[in-house]
Symmetry: C2
Subunit: 308 residues, 2 copies
Protein backbone atom coordinates (compact mmCIF):
# COMPACT_ATOMS: atom_id res chain seq x y z
CA UNK A 1 0.00 0.00 0.00
CA UNK A 2 3.03 2.24 -0.27
CA UNK A 3 3.92 4.63 -3.08
CA UNK A 4 5.06 4.24 -5.78
CA UNK A 5 3.28 0.99 -6.53
CA UNK A 6 4.53 0.08 -9.97
CA UNK A 7 2.89 -2.81 -11.78
CA UNK A 8 5.84 -4.65 -13.28
CA UNK A 9 6.34 -4.62 -17.00
CA UNK A 10 3.45 -2.45 -18.01
CA UNK A 11 4.62 1.04 -17.18
CA UNK A 12 1.82 2.02 -14.84
CA UNK A 13 2.79 4.06 -11.83
CA UNK A 14 0.31 4.66 -9.04
CA UNK A 15 0.77 7.47 -6.61
CA UNK A 16 -1.45 8.21 -3.69
CA UNK A 17 -0.83 11.89 -3.02
CA UNK A 18 -2.43 11.57 0.38
CA UNK A 19 0.20 9.10 1.55
CA UNK A 20 2.97 11.38 0.38
CA UNK A 21 4.17 13.06 3.54
CA UNK A 22 6.19 16.24 4.04
CA UNK A 23 7.06 16.04 7.72
CA UNK A 24 9.76 16.90 10.22
CA UNK A 25 10.53 13.13 10.22
CA UNK A 26 11.67 13.45 6.59
CA UNK A 27 14.87 11.38 6.78
CA UNK A 28 13.19 8.61 8.75
CA UNK A 29 10.26 8.57 6.30
CA UNK A 30 12.65 8.64 3.34
CA UNK A 31 10.95 11.77 2.00
CA UNK A 32 12.38 12.87 -1.32
CA UNK A 33 13.83 16.35 -1.76
CA UNK A 34 14.19 18.08 -5.11
CA UNK A 35 16.89 20.78 -5.16
CA UNK A 36 16.34 23.32 -7.94
CA UNK A 37 18.95 25.88 -8.99
CA UNK A 38 18.78 28.31 -11.89
CA UNK A 39 22.46 28.77 -12.84
CA UNK A 40 24.08 31.42 -15.02
CA UNK A 41 27.53 30.85 -13.51
CA UNK A 42 29.11 27.72 -12.08
CA UNK A 43 30.74 28.47 -8.74
CA UNK A 44 33.02 25.86 -7.18
CA UNK A 45 31.98 27.08 -3.74
CA UNK A 46 28.30 26.47 -4.55
CA UNK A 47 29.08 22.92 -5.62
CA UNK A 48 31.35 22.25 -2.63
CA UNK A 49 28.65 23.53 -0.29
CA UNK A 50 25.99 21.39 -2.01
CA UNK A 51 28.17 18.30 -1.57
CA UNK A 52 28.55 19.04 2.14
CA UNK A 53 24.78 18.86 2.78
CA UNK A 54 24.09 15.88 5.02
CA UNK A 55 20.58 14.91 3.86
CA UNK A 56 20.88 11.40 2.32
CA UNK A 57 21.82 11.73 -1.35
CA UNK A 58 19.70 8.79 -2.44
CA UNK A 59 16.71 10.91 -1.40
CA UNK A 60 17.87 13.96 -3.35
CA UNK A 61 17.16 14.85 -6.95
CA UNK A 62 18.86 17.85 -8.54
CA UNK A 63 17.53 20.13 -11.27
CA UNK A 64 19.42 22.91 -13.04
CA UNK A 65 18.41 25.35 -15.71
CA UNK A 66 21.07 27.28 -17.60
CA UNK A 67 20.65 30.19 -20.02
CA UNK A 68 21.15 29.56 -23.73
CA UNK A 69 24.14 31.80 -24.28
CA UNK A 70 27.90 31.51 -23.85
CA UNK A 71 27.53 31.77 -20.06
CA UNK A 72 25.22 28.80 -20.24
CA UNK A 73 27.71 26.86 -22.37
CA UNK A 74 30.40 27.41 -19.76
CA UNK A 75 28.08 26.33 -16.95
CA UNK A 76 27.22 23.14 -18.82
CA UNK A 77 30.87 22.20 -19.18
CA UNK A 78 31.66 22.74 -15.51
CA UNK A 79 28.45 21.09 -14.39
CA UNK A 80 29.06 17.95 -16.41
CA UNK A 81 32.54 17.45 -15.02
CA UNK A 82 31.37 18.06 -11.46
CA UNK A 83 28.36 15.75 -11.83
CA UNK A 84 30.32 13.00 -13.51
CA UNK A 85 32.71 12.91 -10.59
CA UNK A 86 29.91 12.41 -8.05
CA UNK A 87 27.75 10.08 -10.09
CA UNK A 88 30.55 7.72 -11.03
CA UNK A 89 31.78 7.60 -7.43
CA UNK A 90 30.53 5.31 -4.66
CA UNK A 91 26.87 4.33 -5.17
CA UNK A 92 25.71 5.61 -1.79
CA UNK A 93 27.15 9.04 -2.55
CA UNK A 94 25.28 9.51 -5.80
CA UNK A 95 22.25 11.74 -6.15
CA UNK A 96 19.14 9.81 -7.13
CA UNK A 97 18.57 11.82 -10.33
CA UNK A 98 19.93 14.92 -12.04
CA UNK A 99 18.18 16.96 -14.72
CA UNK A 100 19.79 19.81 -16.64
CA UNK A 101 17.62 22.07 -18.75
CA UNK A 102 18.83 24.46 -21.37
CA UNK A 103 16.56 27.49 -21.30
CA UNK A 104 14.22 28.19 -24.16
CA UNK A 105 14.74 31.30 -26.24
CA UNK A 106 13.24 33.90 -24.04
CA UNK A 107 9.66 33.44 -25.16
CA UNK A 108 8.59 36.63 -23.44
CA UNK A 109 10.60 38.56 -26.02
CA UNK A 110 8.65 37.12 -28.90
CA UNK A 111 5.28 37.52 -27.31
CA UNK A 112 2.63 39.60 -28.92
CA UNK A 113 0.74 41.06 -26.01
CA UNK A 114 3.60 42.40 -23.99
CA UNK A 115 4.18 46.06 -23.59
CA UNK A 116 7.91 46.44 -24.20
CA UNK A 117 8.15 49.98 -23.00
CA UNK A 118 6.31 49.45 -19.77
CA UNK A 119 8.91 46.90 -18.79
CA UNK A 120 11.84 48.26 -16.90
CA UNK A 121 15.06 46.28 -17.23
CA UNK A 122 14.50 44.89 -13.74
CA UNK A 123 11.01 43.77 -14.65
CA UNK A 124 12.28 42.00 -17.78
CA UNK A 125 15.06 40.29 -15.85
CA UNK A 126 12.76 39.11 -13.08
CA UNK A 127 10.14 38.02 -15.57
CA UNK A 128 12.70 36.00 -17.49
CA UNK A 129 13.93 34.41 -14.23
CA UNK A 130 10.33 33.49 -13.41
CA UNK A 131 9.95 31.71 -16.77
CA UNK A 132 13.19 29.82 -16.11
CA UNK A 133 12.07 28.77 -12.61
CA UNK A 134 8.68 27.63 -13.94
CA UNK A 135 10.24 25.54 -16.71
CA UNK A 136 12.49 23.91 -14.16
CA UNK A 137 9.67 23.30 -11.69
CA UNK A 138 7.00 22.03 -14.09
CA UNK A 139 9.34 19.45 -15.66
CA UNK A 140 11.19 18.07 -12.63
CA UNK A 141 8.52 17.81 -9.93
CA UNK A 142 7.42 14.20 -9.74
CA UNK A 143 4.52 12.50 -7.97
CA UNK A 144 6.92 11.28 -5.26
CA UNK A 145 8.66 14.58 -4.44
CA UNK A 146 7.94 15.67 -0.85
CA UNK A 147 9.99 18.86 -0.63
CA UNK A 148 11.46 21.37 -3.08
CA UNK A 149 14.54 23.34 -2.05
CA UNK A 150 15.11 26.42 -4.20
CA UNK A 151 18.82 27.14 -3.89
CA UNK A 152 20.37 29.88 -5.98
CA UNK A 153 23.61 28.91 -7.68
CA UNK A 154 25.48 31.78 -6.02
CA UNK A 155 24.79 30.57 -2.48
CA UNK A 156 28.26 29.51 -1.46
CA UNK A 157 27.87 28.75 2.22
CA UNK A 158 25.15 27.29 4.43
CA UNK A 159 24.92 25.01 7.43
CA UNK A 160 25.53 21.41 6.30
CA UNK A 161 22.16 20.54 7.86
CA UNK A 162 20.33 23.14 5.73
CA UNK A 163 17.68 20.72 4.47
CA UNK A 164 16.95 19.09 7.82
CA UNK A 165 16.96 22.48 9.59
CA UNK A 166 14.41 24.02 7.23
CA UNK A 167 12.30 20.84 7.21
CA UNK A 168 12.20 20.87 11.03
CA UNK A 169 10.03 24.02 10.93
CA UNK A 170 7.35 22.06 9.07
CA UNK A 171 6.09 25.10 7.14
CA UNK A 172 4.51 25.26 3.66
CA UNK A 173 7.21 27.75 2.59
CA UNK A 174 10.25 28.87 4.58
CA UNK A 175 13.07 31.16 3.53
CA UNK A 176 16.57 31.49 5.02
CA UNK A 177 18.13 34.93 5.48
CA UNK A 178 20.68 35.65 2.74
CA UNK A 179 23.81 37.57 3.80
CA UNK A 180 27.20 38.19 2.26
CA UNK A 181 30.73 38.07 3.66
CA UNK A 182 32.93 41.09 2.89
CA UNK A 183 36.08 42.81 4.12
CA UNK A 184 35.10 45.84 6.16
CA UNK A 185 37.71 48.43 5.21
CA UNK A 186 36.81 50.81 8.02
CA UNK A 187 37.15 48.12 10.69
CA UNK A 188 39.92 46.29 8.80
CA UNK A 189 38.30 42.91 9.32
CA UNK A 190 36.05 40.30 7.76
CA UNK A 191 32.39 41.02 8.34
CA UNK A 192 28.91 40.21 7.04
CA UNK A 193 26.15 42.35 5.53
CA UNK A 194 22.57 41.80 4.36
CA UNK A 195 22.29 40.76 0.71
CA UNK A 196 18.77 39.66 -0.27
CA UNK A 197 16.02 42.26 0.34
CA UNK A 198 13.21 40.27 -1.26
CA UNK A 199 12.17 38.69 2.06
CA UNK A 200 9.71 41.19 3.48
CA UNK A 201 6.50 41.86 5.37
CA UNK A 202 3.80 43.88 3.66
CA UNK A 203 3.31 47.45 4.91
CA UNK A 204 0.46 49.95 4.87
CA UNK A 205 2.58 52.06 2.58
CA UNK A 206 3.29 49.12 0.25
CA UNK A 207 -0.43 48.36 -0.05
CA UNK A 208 -1.20 52.03 -0.69
CA UNK A 209 1.39 52.25 -3.45
CA UNK A 210 0.03 49.07 -5.05
CA UNK A 211 -3.55 50.33 -4.91
CA UNK A 212 -2.58 53.41 -6.89
CA UNK A 213 -0.68 51.50 -9.57
CA UNK A 214 -1.84 50.57 -13.01
CA UNK A 215 -2.58 46.85 -13.42
CA UNK A 216 0.69 46.04 -15.14
CA UNK A 217 3.02 47.95 -12.84
CA UNK A 218 5.15 46.15 -10.32
CA UNK A 219 6.92 46.88 -7.06
CA UNK A 220 10.36 45.33 -6.81
CA UNK A 221 11.60 45.46 -3.25
CA UNK A 222 15.11 46.74 -2.56
CA UNK A 223 15.02 49.71 -4.93
CA UNK A 224 15.21 53.09 -3.29
CA UNK A 225 12.94 54.86 -5.75
CA UNK A 226 9.86 53.19 -4.26
CA UNK A 227 9.70 53.72 -0.52
CA UNK A 228 7.42 50.94 0.71
CA UNK A 229 8.65 50.97 4.31
CA UNK A 230 8.17 47.23 4.27
CA UNK A 231 9.97 45.52 7.16
CA UNK A 232 12.77 43.54 5.48
CA UNK A 233 13.87 40.25 7.02
CA UNK A 234 17.47 41.13 6.15
CA UNK A 235 17.33 43.77 8.91
CA UNK A 236 15.89 41.45 11.55
CA UNK A 237 19.06 39.39 11.88
CA UNK A 238 20.22 39.15 15.48
CA UNK A 239 23.62 37.51 15.92
CA UNK A 240 22.70 36.62 19.51
CA UNK A 241 19.13 35.55 18.78
CA UNK A 242 17.66 32.07 18.55
CA UNK A 243 18.52 30.61 15.15
CA UNK A 244 15.04 29.05 15.04
CA UNK A 245 13.15 32.33 15.36
CA UNK A 246 10.38 32.41 12.74
CA UNK A 247 8.63 35.40 11.20
CA UNK A 248 5.71 35.50 8.79
CA UNK A 249 6.54 36.96 5.40
CA UNK A 250 4.57 38.31 2.44
CA UNK A 251 7.38 38.43 -0.11
CA UNK A 252 10.39 36.15 -0.46
CA UNK A 253 13.62 35.90 -2.45
CA UNK A 254 14.90 32.74 -4.08
CA UNK A 255 18.27 32.31 -2.36
CA UNK A 256 17.39 29.34 -0.12
CA UNK A 257 13.71 28.52 0.18
CA UNK A 258 12.12 25.23 1.18
CA UNK A 259 8.64 24.48 -0.19
CA UNK A 260 6.34 21.56 0.58
CA UNK A 261 5.79 19.90 -2.79
CA UNK A 262 2.02 20.03 -2.26
CA UNK A 263 2.15 23.82 -2.39
CA UNK A 264 3.61 23.65 -5.89
CA UNK A 265 1.24 20.83 -6.85
CA UNK A 266 -1.72 22.99 -5.85
CA UNK A 267 -0.49 25.42 -8.50
CA UNK A 268 2.01 27.77 -6.84
CA UNK A 269 4.39 29.00 -9.52
CA UNK A 270 6.53 32.08 -10.18
CA UNK A 271 4.37 34.68 -11.95
CA UNK A 272 6.27 36.18 -14.91
CA UNK A 273 3.48 38.76 -15.15
CA UNK A 274 2.45 41.24 -12.45
CA UNK A 275 0.42 39.35 -9.84
CA UNK A 276 -0.88 41.80 -7.24
CA UNK A 277 1.94 44.02 -8.59
CA UNK A 278 4.54 41.38 -7.74
CA UNK A 279 6.54 38.99 -9.90
CA UNK A 280 8.85 35.99 -9.65
CA UNK A 281 9.74 34.88 -6.09
CA UNK A 282 7.81 37.79 -4.56
CA UNK A 283 4.79 36.91 -6.67
CA UNK A 284 5.25 33.25 -5.70
CA UNK A 285 4.87 34.19 -2.03
CA UNK A 286 1.66 36.06 -2.82
CA UNK A 287 0.30 33.16 -4.88
CA UNK A 288 1.12 30.74 -2.08
CA UNK A 289 -0.94 32.89 0.27
CA UNK A 290 -3.80 33.05 -2.25
CA UNK A 291 -3.74 29.24 -2.18
CA UNK A 292 -4.30 29.43 1.56
CA UNK A 293 -0.81 28.68 2.86
CA UNK A 294 1.42 30.68 5.18
CA UNK A 295 4.92 31.85 4.31
CA UNK A 296 7.75 32.11 6.82
CA UNK A 297 11.30 33.31 7.12
CA UNK A 298 14.15 32.62 9.52
CA UNK A 299 15.85 35.96 10.25
CA UNK A 300 18.69 34.41 12.28
CA UNK A 301 19.36 31.48 9.99
CA UNK A 302 21.95 32.65 7.50
CA UNK A 303 23.11 31.45 4.13
CA UNK A 304 25.79 33.40 2.27
CA UNK A 305 25.77 34.87 -1.19
CA UNK A 306 28.89 34.86 -3.35
CA UNK A 307 31.01 38.00 -3.27
CA UNK A 308 33.04 38.58 -6.43
Amino acid sequence: DLIPNILPGDHISHFDLNKLASTPMAVYNKEKVLILSPMSKFLNQYWANLLKLTYPRELIELGFIVPRNSDGDKVLNFLEVAIKQVQTGPKEKRFSKITILRQDNDSIRSQKEKDRHALSIQKERRSSMALARNSLLFTTLSPFTSWVLWLDADIVESPTTLIQDLIAHDKPVISANCYQRFFDDSKKKESIRPYDFNNWVESEEGLKIASNMRDDEIIVEGYANIATYRPLMAHFYDANGDVNTEMQLDGIGGAAVLVKADVHRDGAMFPPFPFYHLIETEGFAKMTKRLGYEVFGLPNYLVYHYNE
Copy 2:
Protein backbone atom coordinates in the same frame (compact mmCIF):
# COMPACT_ATOMS: atom_id res chain seq x y z
CA ASP B 1 22.92 16.87 -30.28
CA LEU B 2 19.39 15.59 -29.87
CA ILE B 3 17.28 15.44 -26.74
CA PRO B 4 17.31 13.67 -24.38
CA ASN B 5 21.06 13.18 -24.29
CA ILE B 6 21.55 10.83 -21.38
CA LEU B 7 25.07 10.18 -20.15
CA PRO B 8 25.05 6.44 -19.56
CA GLY B 9 25.22 5.10 -16.06
CA ASP B 10 25.25 8.34 -14.15
CA HIS B 11 21.65 9.46 -14.22
CA ILE B 12 22.12 12.84 -15.87
CA SER B 13 19.50 13.88 -18.37
CA HIS B 14 20.07 16.90 -20.57
CA PHE B 15 17.22 18.63 -22.26
CA ASP B 16 17.52 21.55 -24.60
CA LEU B 17 14.11 23.18 -24.40
CA ASN B 18 14.84 25.14 -27.54
CA LYS B 19 15.19 22.00 -29.60
CA LEU B 20 11.89 20.70 -28.28
CA ALA B 21 9.44 21.44 -31.05
CA SER B 22 5.65 21.63 -30.98
CA THR B 23 4.82 21.74 -34.67
CA PRO B 24 2.24 20.65 -37.23
CA MET B 25 4.83 17.99 -38.25
CA ALA B 26 4.40 16.35 -34.85
CA VAL B 27 4.20 12.71 -35.96
CA TYR B 28 7.13 13.07 -38.33
CA ASN B 29 9.18 14.79 -35.60
CA LYS B 30 8.13 12.18 -33.06
CA GLU B 31 6.75 14.89 -30.77
CA LYS B 32 5.47 13.49 -27.49
CA VAL B 33 1.90 14.09 -26.39
CA LEU B 34 0.72 13.88 -22.79
CA ILE B 35 -3.01 13.16 -22.44
CA LEU B 36 -4.38 14.27 -19.07
CA SER B 37 -7.81 13.28 -17.77
CA PRO B 38 -9.31 13.99 -14.36
CA MET B 39 -11.66 11.04 -13.81
CA SER B 40 -14.45 10.60 -11.28
CA LYS B 41 -16.19 7.91 -13.32
CA PHE B 42 -14.75 5.30 -15.69
CA LEU B 43 -16.73 5.21 -18.92
CA ASN B 44 -16.14 2.38 -21.37
CA GLN B 45 -16.97 4.73 -24.21
CA TYR B 46 -14.24 7.16 -23.13
CA TRP B 47 -11.70 4.35 -23.07
CA ALA B 48 -12.84 2.92 -26.40
CA ASN B 49 -12.62 6.37 -27.98
CA LEU B 50 -9.14 6.92 -26.51
CA LEU B 51 -7.96 3.63 -27.98
CA LYS B 52 -9.27 4.65 -31.40
CA LEU B 53 -7.04 7.74 -31.57
CA THR B 54 -4.53 7.26 -34.36
CA TYR B 55 -1.57 9.27 -33.03
CA PRO B 56 1.27 6.77 -32.46
CA ARG B 57 0.95 5.27 -28.98
CA GLU B 58 4.69 5.12 -28.39
CA LEU B 59 4.57 8.93 -28.46
CA ILE B 60 1.69 9.16 -25.99
CA GLU B 61 1.86 9.29 -22.22
CA LEU B 62 -1.35 9.14 -20.18
CA GLY B 63 -2.05 10.77 -16.82
CA PHE B 64 -5.16 10.29 -14.67
CA ILE B 65 -6.20 11.75 -11.36
CA VAL B 66 -9.05 10.17 -9.43
CA PRO B 67 -10.84 11.47 -6.33
CA ARG B 68 -10.13 9.80 -2.99
CA ASN B 69 -13.60 8.45 -2.31
CA SER B 70 -15.59 5.38 -3.29
CA ASP B 71 -16.09 6.76 -6.82
CA GLY B 72 -12.32 6.97 -7.08
CA ASP B 73 -11.93 3.39 -5.83
CA LYS B 74 -14.26 2.18 -8.56
CA VAL B 75 -12.42 4.18 -11.22
CA LEU B 76 -9.10 2.68 -10.09
CA ASN B 77 -10.41 -0.85 -10.46
CA PHE B 78 -11.76 -0.29 -13.97
CA LEU B 79 -8.74 1.71 -15.03
CA GLU B 80 -6.29 -0.98 -13.94
CA VAL B 81 -8.06 -3.70 -15.86
CA ALA B 82 -8.32 -1.53 -18.96
CA ILE B 83 -4.70 -0.45 -18.78
CA LYS B 84 -3.38 -3.94 -18.11
CA GLN B 85 -5.05 -5.17 -21.25
CA VAL B 86 -3.37 -2.55 -23.45
CA GLN B 87 0.02 -2.56 -21.77
CA THR B 88 0.43 -6.33 -21.84
CA GLY B 89 -0.64 -6.48 -25.48
CA PRO B 90 1.57 -6.01 -28.56
CA LYS B 91 4.54 -3.71 -27.83
CA GLU B 92 3.72 -1.24 -30.60
CA LYS B 93 0.21 -0.77 -29.20
CA ARG B 94 1.33 0.18 -25.72
CA PHE B 95 1.32 3.73 -24.42
CA SER B 96 4.79 4.97 -23.55
CA LYS B 97 3.92 5.70 -19.92
CA ILE B 98 0.85 5.84 -17.67
CA THR B 99 0.57 7.68 -14.37
CA ILE B 100 -2.40 7.43 -12.03
CA LEU B 101 -2.70 9.87 -9.16
CA ARG B 102 -4.99 9.53 -6.22
CA GLN B 103 -6.14 13.00 -5.23
CA ASP B 104 -4.98 14.57 -2.01
CA ASN B 105 -7.48 15.32 0.70
CA ASP B 106 -8.98 18.49 -0.56
CA SER B 107 -6.42 20.86 0.87
CA ILE B 108 -8.58 23.88 0.14
CA ARG B 109 -10.96 22.66 2.83
CA SER B 110 -8.32 22.79 5.50
CA GLN B 111 -6.94 26.13 4.50
CA LYS B 112 -6.89 29.05 6.84
CA GLU B 113 -7.34 32.01 4.58
CA LYS B 114 -10.34 30.91 2.67
CA ASP B 115 -13.69 32.49 3.13
CA ARG B 116 -16.06 29.52 3.38
CA HIS B 117 -19.22 31.50 3.08
CA ALA B 118 -18.19 33.50 0.05
CA LEU B 119 -17.71 30.26 -1.82
CA SER B 120 -20.73 29.07 -3.69
CA ILE B 121 -20.94 25.32 -4.28
CA GLN B 122 -19.95 25.88 -7.90
CA LYS B 123 -16.92 27.87 -6.85
CA GLU B 124 -15.81 25.12 -4.46
CA ARG B 125 -16.28 22.44 -7.09
CA ARG B 126 -14.36 24.36 -9.74
CA SER B 127 -11.66 25.25 -7.28
CA SER B 128 -11.25 21.63 -6.27
CA MET B 129 -11.11 20.61 -9.96
CA ALA B 130 -8.39 23.21 -10.48
CA LEU B 131 -6.31 21.71 -7.66
CA ALA B 132 -6.74 18.25 -9.19
CA ARG B 133 -5.70 19.47 -12.65
CA ASN B 134 -2.66 21.25 -11.21
CA SER B 135 -1.50 18.17 -9.29
CA LEU B 136 -1.82 16.13 -12.43
CA LEU B 137 -0.03 18.69 -14.59
CA PHE B 138 2.85 19.55 -12.24
CA THR B 139 3.78 15.91 -11.69
CA THR B 140 3.43 14.42 -15.18
CA LEU B 141 4.83 17.11 -17.50
CA SER B 142 8.37 16.10 -18.43
CA PRO B 143 11.17 17.96 -20.18
CA PHE B 144 10.43 16.05 -23.39
CA THR B 145 6.65 16.63 -23.58
CA SER B 146 5.72 18.69 -26.67
CA TRP B 147 1.94 18.81 -26.34
CA VAL B 148 -0.62 18.37 -23.58
CA LEU B 149 -4.12 17.19 -24.48
CA TRP B 150 -6.65 17.85 -21.72
CA LEU B 151 -9.40 15.33 -22.33
CA ASP B 152 -12.24 15.02 -19.85
CA ALA B 153 -13.11 11.47 -18.88
CA ASP B 154 -16.72 11.91 -20.03
CA ILE B 155 -15.80 12.70 -23.62
CA VAL B 156 -17.07 9.60 -25.33
CA GLU B 157 -16.72 10.42 -28.99
CA SER B 158 -14.25 12.39 -31.10
CA PRO B 159 -12.68 12.09 -34.52
CA THR B 160 -9.96 9.40 -34.41
CA THR B 161 -7.53 12.03 -35.69
CA LEU B 162 -8.31 14.37 -32.76
CA ILE B 163 -4.65 14.89 -31.79
CA GLN B 164 -3.35 15.45 -35.32
CA ASP B 165 -6.31 17.69 -36.17
CA LEU B 166 -5.79 19.98 -33.20
CA ILE B 167 -2.00 19.97 -33.68
CA ALA B 168 -2.46 21.02 -37.33
CA HIS B 169 -3.74 24.42 -36.16
CA ASP B 170 -0.37 25.07 -34.51
CA LYS B 171 -1.84 27.24 -31.75
CA PRO B 172 -0.62 27.73 -28.16
CA VAL B 173 -4.04 26.63 -26.87
CA ILE B 174 -6.95 25.28 -28.90
CA SER B 175 -10.30 23.97 -27.71
CA ALA B 176 -12.77 21.71 -29.51
CA ASN B 177 -16.51 22.40 -29.30
CA CYS B 178 -18.20 20.06 -26.84
CA TYR B 179 -21.69 18.83 -27.79
CA GLN B 180 -23.95 16.05 -26.61
CA ARG B 181 -26.06 13.49 -28.44
CA PHE B 182 -29.67 13.13 -27.25
CA PHE B 183 -33.02 11.83 -28.39
CA ASP B 184 -35.16 14.74 -29.49
CA ASP B 185 -38.64 13.79 -28.29
CA SER B 186 -40.41 16.51 -30.26
CA LYS B 187 -38.80 15.43 -33.53
CA LYS B 188 -38.64 11.77 -32.55
CA LYS B 189 -35.06 11.38 -33.67
CA GLU B 190 -31.44 11.42 -32.53
CA SER B 191 -30.00 14.90 -32.42
CA ILE B 192 -27.18 16.93 -30.91
CA ARG B 193 -27.10 19.94 -28.57
CA PRO B 194 -24.45 22.22 -27.11
CA TYR B 195 -22.99 20.98 -23.82
CA ASP B 196 -19.96 22.99 -22.70
CA PHE B 197 -20.53 26.74 -22.26
CA ASN B 198 -17.11 27.56 -20.87
CA ASN B 199 -15.67 28.37 -24.30
CA TRP B 200 -16.44 32.06 -24.72
CA VAL B 201 -15.37 35.46 -25.94
CA GLU B 202 -15.23 38.30 -23.43
CA SER B 203 -17.97 40.91 -23.68
CA GLU B 204 -18.34 44.55 -22.62
CA GLU B 205 -20.98 43.39 -20.19
CA GLY B 206 -18.71 40.66 -18.79
CA LEU B 207 -15.92 43.17 -18.19
CA LYS B 208 -18.34 45.59 -16.58
CA ILE B 209 -19.67 42.94 -14.21
CA ALA B 210 -16.12 41.93 -13.28
CA SER B 211 -15.08 45.53 -12.63
CA ASN B 212 -17.87 45.91 -10.09
CA MET B 213 -17.08 42.68 -8.25
CA ARG B 214 -15.20 42.26 -5.02
CA ASP B 215 -11.72 40.77 -5.46
CA ASP B 216 -12.73 37.26 -4.43
CA GLU B 217 -15.92 37.00 -6.47
CA ILE B 218 -16.02 34.93 -9.63
CA ILE B 219 -18.05 34.73 -12.80
CA VAL B 220 -18.83 31.18 -13.89
CA GLU B 221 -20.10 31.13 -17.44
CA GLY B 222 -23.23 29.16 -18.24
CA TYR B 223 -25.26 30.20 -15.21
CA ALA B 224 -28.32 32.27 -15.97
CA ASN B 225 -28.11 34.44 -12.87
CA ILE B 226 -25.20 36.40 -14.32
CA ALA B 227 -26.03 37.75 -17.76
CA THR B 228 -22.63 38.41 -19.32
CA TYR B 229 -23.83 38.36 -22.94
CA ARG B 230 -20.52 36.72 -23.76
CA PRO B 231 -20.57 35.09 -27.21
CA LEU B 232 -20.37 31.35 -26.45
CA MET B 233 -18.53 29.08 -28.89
CA ALA B 234 -21.22 26.45 -28.33
CA HIS B 235 -23.62 28.65 -30.29
CA PHE B 236 -21.26 29.22 -33.21
CA TYR B 237 -21.45 25.64 -34.46
CA ASP B 238 -22.40 25.49 -38.13
CA ALA B 239 -23.10 21.98 -39.42
CA ASN B 240 -22.31 23.12 -42.95
CA GLY B 241 -19.31 25.25 -42.05
CA ASP B 242 -15.61 24.51 -42.49
CA VAL B 243 -14.50 22.20 -39.72
CA ASN B 244 -11.21 24.14 -39.53
CA THR B 245 -12.80 27.50 -38.76
CA GLU B 246 -10.95 29.12 -35.87
CA MET B 247 -12.15 31.73 -33.41
CA GLN B 248 -10.24 33.54 -30.70
CA LEU B 249 -11.45 32.80 -27.19
CA ASP B 250 -11.02 34.39 -23.76
CA GLY B 251 -12.40 31.55 -21.64
CA ILE B 252 -12.26 27.81 -22.28
CA GLY B 253 -13.65 24.58 -20.85
CA GLY B 254 -11.62 21.44 -20.25
CA ALA B 255 -13.46 18.93 -22.44
CA ALA B 256 -10.84 18.60 -25.21
CA VAL B 257 -8.09 21.21 -25.21
CA LEU B 258 -4.65 20.96 -26.78
CA VAL B 259 -1.87 23.03 -25.20
CA LYS B 260 1.71 23.50 -26.35
CA ALA B 261 3.80 22.21 -23.46
CA ASP B 262 5.81 25.44 -23.44
CA VAL B 263 2.68 27.34 -22.41
CA HIS B 264 2.44 25.21 -19.26
CA ARG B 265 6.20 25.36 -18.75
CA ASP B 266 6.04 29.15 -18.77
CA GLY B 267 3.72 28.82 -15.80
CA ALA B 268 0.18 28.48 -17.13
CA MET B 269 -1.86 26.55 -14.56
CA PHE B 270 -5.49 26.31 -13.43
CA PRO B 271 -6.10 29.00 -10.82
CA PRO B 272 -8.03 27.53 -7.86
CA PHE B 273 -8.46 31.11 -6.61
CA PRO B 274 -10.22 33.95 -8.45
CA PHE B 275 -7.87 35.22 -11.16
CA TYR B 276 -9.42 38.24 -12.87
CA HIS B 277 -12.66 36.82 -11.39
CA LEU B 278 -12.15 33.52 -13.21
CA ILE B 279 -11.09 30.08 -12.00
CA GLU B 280 -10.04 26.66 -13.28
CA THR B 281 -10.12 26.25 -17.09
CA GLU B 282 -11.56 29.74 -17.59
CA GLY B 283 -8.81 31.18 -15.38
CA PHE B 284 -6.27 29.09 -17.29
CA ALA B 285 -7.28 30.82 -20.53
CA LYS B 286 -6.84 34.22 -18.89
CA MET B 287 -3.45 33.23 -17.45
CA THR B 288 -2.33 31.97 -20.84
CA LYS B 289 -3.18 35.36 -22.28
CA ARG B 290 -1.32 37.14 -19.47
CA LEU B 291 1.70 35.06 -20.49
CA GLY B 292 1.39 36.54 -23.95
CA TYR B 293 -0.20 33.65 -25.84
CA GLU B 294 -3.39 33.50 -27.86
CA VAL B 295 -6.25 31.10 -27.20
CA PHE B 296 -8.41 29.59 -29.92
CA GLY B 297 -11.46 27.45 -30.38
CA LEU B 298 -12.88 25.38 -33.24
CA PRO B 299 -16.64 25.98 -33.32
CA ASN B 300 -17.29 23.38 -36.04
CA TYR B 301 -15.01 20.69 -34.66
CA LEU B 302 -17.14 18.61 -32.31
CA VAL B 303 -16.41 16.17 -29.52
CA TYR B 304 -19.28 14.60 -27.62
CA HIS B 305 -20.00 14.53 -23.92
CA TYR B 306 -21.51 11.49 -22.26
CA ASN B 307 -25.28 11.48 -21.84
CA GLU B 308 -26.51 9.35 -18.96
